[in-house]
């Protein structure tokens, strides 16, 4: 039965009536994917965005270098070249039909941002300025690097995020800021809403929706050294697993080559795009050995492995776990005009003036290539392959569509988040035109979520959240980082089980309802433990090296056995796998050299 009267609010067990909300579209996450979808869908429908941080504080804003599109504003470029680079960058694991859509629609999406008001940097003719980035080349890899990354100084994520927020305000999108999503409401293969916790005031809320979209972002916080925000705990992935849905390609995690030493904070690839050099402890520009042709502008997986190899073999600076990125030869004017944020970060965190000194850097956990399997229109797939969950969408880093395959190229993430956010929005509009009524909300929709919160608020064990989380981060970095092997992954599998047992025995210090960040961190840790096992089990199972997944015991790519996507479920603590083929259209897998 559907409810005809929009004023009728369902009784939801355990949730006061004033905490039950209804919107045509409920989007979780206010980053580029979520807000781009909101902008699109709010042209026609009532859209709410739920975010655990104020929208402009989403982590998309920390992206620095650019957003890829073959605008050819600075020199010749074609979407076919962008496609080839993305396919090769993915180590041939990206699905080529969706990559084709990504690169063809990229110019439209970037120009729309400009029309919305984004303050891009400009060429002398007044067009959107473009710079070099790793892995983006001319003439199907045969030429040199190409000016493809559209940028706003070195604050590209910031300008795009704020612009989307501004357009959402204009379109009267309803924001529920500082709400933490707890669980999905899925009934008869149809998504009908979400349950969330009001961080500011406390209390469980139910969001009854015709469509739900996830733009919940990545999970860098499972690693000790990461470029990610403290908020990047992959909450959407935990929720999806608890709802019995699969995740795809979770073993593929990108480590960004240049994180500030010890803090892991991002030093944009634009620093290399603008001409920065990587230097080891012997003063050598060591990329000569690993990528003689593209040097520092090789893709991230390769550069990170190169840096880590230098460090592991004792050629870090003074033998320590870092190398230098040297910008001095760029000169003060170029640094201050093109890379002012890099200058500011190096100064504020390491007290290094990059005009006069090189910056200590190390690889840092950065991006998840895997995630919630979706089709090209952002529909979440129940079986990971074909059957969509009605009314449920995902886009951006939390999703796996898959355009990045085994390794993402720099500037393709802002593009993917915006572009597939936009596609989600369009696809939601089409769905809502056909499905105008709310489906019933089950009376017990919030029962499990309420139990989860209550258990934590009354917890009285002897484990601290911070300690378990730190152990998780240290283990994941040490045993499931840039280089992996069977022994370490095997050990890690067992250790993660133990962490889950310890998590069952936590104790929160803070038992209050108002702005309880102790509770929030406990919920986040629960999510991280939920999906970390899939990263490790996926990496253990995949006996090859491809893109960012590098097995020292299986150093070669094995297309015969492993040119396929991993799908993984977790039911009652048990993990099961399935695989699906990669879509190959234009470019047959070849050896990958730079």
């Amino acid at each position: 039965m559907t409810i005809k009267d929009p004023e009728t609010i369902h009784d939801v067990e355990g949730v006061p009536v004033h905490n039950v909300h209804r919107h045509d579209v409920v989007i979780i996450g206010a980053g580029l994917a979520g807000m781009r979808a909101a902008v699109e869908a709010s042209d026609e429908f009532d859209v709410a965005v739920i975010s655990k941080v104020f929208p402009t504080r989403s982590h998309s804003g920390a992206a620095q270098g650019g957003i890829a599109a073959s605008l050819a504003n600075e020199e010749e470029d074609h979407w076919e070249w962008h496609m080839f680079d993305t396919v090769k960058g993915s180590d041939y694991l990206g699905d080529q039909d969706v990559i084709e859509t990504l690169v063809k629609e990229a110019p439209v999406v970037v120009r729309e941002f400009e029309h919305f008001g984004a303050p891009f940097s400009r060429t002398s003719e007044g067009r959107i300025a473009q710079r070099l980035f790793g892995g983006h080349t001319k003439d199907f890899g045969r030429g040199g690097p190409v000016l493809r990354a559209c940028y706003g100084v070195d604050r590209t994520g910031h300008v795009l995020l704020h612009t989307l927020y501004e357009v959402c305000v204009r379109n009267q999108v309803r924001f529920y800021s500082e709400f933490h999503a707890l669980s999905l409401i899925i009934e008869d293969g149809e998504c009908r809403g979400v349950v969330a916790w009001d961080i500011v005031n406390g209390g469980v809320h139910v969001f009854h929706a015709k469509t739900v979209m996830f733009g919940t972002g990545g999970y860098g916080k499972v690693f000790k050294i990461t470029s990610n925000a403290l908020a990047n705990t992959g909450d959407g992935l935990g929720m999806v697993l608890r709802a019995g849905l699969p995740l795809e390609d979770m073993e593929f995690v990108q480590f960004h080559p240049t994180g500030l030493y010890l803090q892991g904070i991002l030093v944009s690839e634009a620093a290399r795009g603008e001409g920065g050099h990587l230097i080891n402890g012997k003063g050598e520009r060591f990329m000569e050995k690993y990528a003689p042709d593209k040097m520092e502008l090789a893709p991230r997986d390769l550069v990170s492995r190169s840096i880590q190899t230098e460090i592991n073999e004792g050629r870090g600076i003074n033998g320590e776990a870092y190398v230098y990125i040297d910008l001095r030869h760029l000169g003060k004017e170029k640094i201050m005009h093109q890379l002012p944020q890099i200058h500011e970060l190096a100064w504020k965190f390491l007290h290094v003036d990059c005009v006069t000194d090189p910056i200590p850097i190390q690889p840092t956990g950065h991006y998840s290539m895997g995630g919630i399997p979706t089709d090209i229109d952002g529909r979440v797939l129940l079986d990971g392959k074909q059957i969509p969950v009605k009314g449920f969408y995902a886009g951006g880093e939390c999703a796996c569509v898959s355009v990045h395959g085994a390794n993402r190229l720099g500037t393709n993430s802002l593009l993917e988040a915006s572009l597939f956010g936009r596609r989600c929005g369009k696809s939601i509009i089409r769905y809502l035109r056909e499905n105008r009524e709310f489906s019933d909300l089950p009376a017990d929709a919030a029962v499990e979520a309420i139990k989860m919160v209550k258990r934590l608020l009354s917890s009285d064990g002897d484990e601290k959240i911070g300690k378990i989380r730190e152990d998780l981060q240290v283990m994941m970095t040490g045993k499931c980082g840039i280089f992996r092997n069977e022994k370490q992954l095997g050990d890690l599998k067992k250790e993660l089980r133990k962490l889950e047992e310890r998590y069952a025995n936590v104790r929160l210090d803070d038992k209050s309802e108002t702005f309880n960040t102790d509770l929030l961190e406990a919920l986040e840790l629960g999510n991280m433990l939920e999906f970390s096992e899939l990263i490790v089990e996926g990496a253990y199972a995949r006996k090859e090296s491809r893109g960012a997944h590098s097995r020292t015991d299986f150093p070669d790519r094995d297309d015969g056995e492993w040119l396929k996507h991993t799908l993984a479920w977790k039911k009652d603590g048990k993990i099961s796998f399935d695989y699906k083929p990669v879509t190959i259209t234009r470019f047959q897998p070849k050896e990958r050299k730079y």
Partner: protein, 237 residues
Amino acid sequence: MAILKFKINRYNPDDERRGHYEQEYELDVPKGYTVLDCLNDIKWKIDGTLSYRRSCRSGICGSCAMTINGVNNLACETQALSLKSDTVTIEPLRGYPVVKDLVVSLDPIVRGLMAVRPYMINKTPPPTDQERFQSPEERDKLEGLYECILCGSCTSACPSFWADKEYLGPHAFLKAYRFVADSRDEDARAHLEALDDKHGLWRCHTIFNCVEACPKGLNPTKAIAELKKEIVKGKVG
């Protein structure tokens, strides 16, 4: 490494009886530790009830603005040892209602922002298959304006805001000027409308606290001066 004493302003509305109070923590602080790293250590290892906002750790999200030894700053960008003081006093940003401990209500920030219609208004349809053109010189006019991270430090430091809670605040004026100064925006009047008001621009007495408070080195007072000129121009013209 040095042992620092942290005096932190505490408040929990679920424990009204206790009201606002100061709590002390001692911490071994290694070189390179930011104030946020210190707060995290206190929260994760000593006292899980301590509440504050934080996210990006790199000075771009604006969550962790707070008053550190009397100065508004981002905790994540402030090196603890460079404060050159054995005692670090941390309070929530002044002028805003306190939600809990170092967490303040964002409502005044959002209210001021909304009043200036914080989005580009453009009546001419954009060209198809092309961006709107903007010369590098026109684009340079946005430098010092577009970088605002909405952390609320400036308005919290503003005596005009302390005296008038309806005052829109320097962050809102900076945002308004970001659009008024943009060669692509076609309706300056819409952004200026709410500013020409007793809670608007004229209440700014150029005290420059906002400039001093901005962790990103921006200059809202200059934007305010420019906006005043725009309004006067509009009236005369």
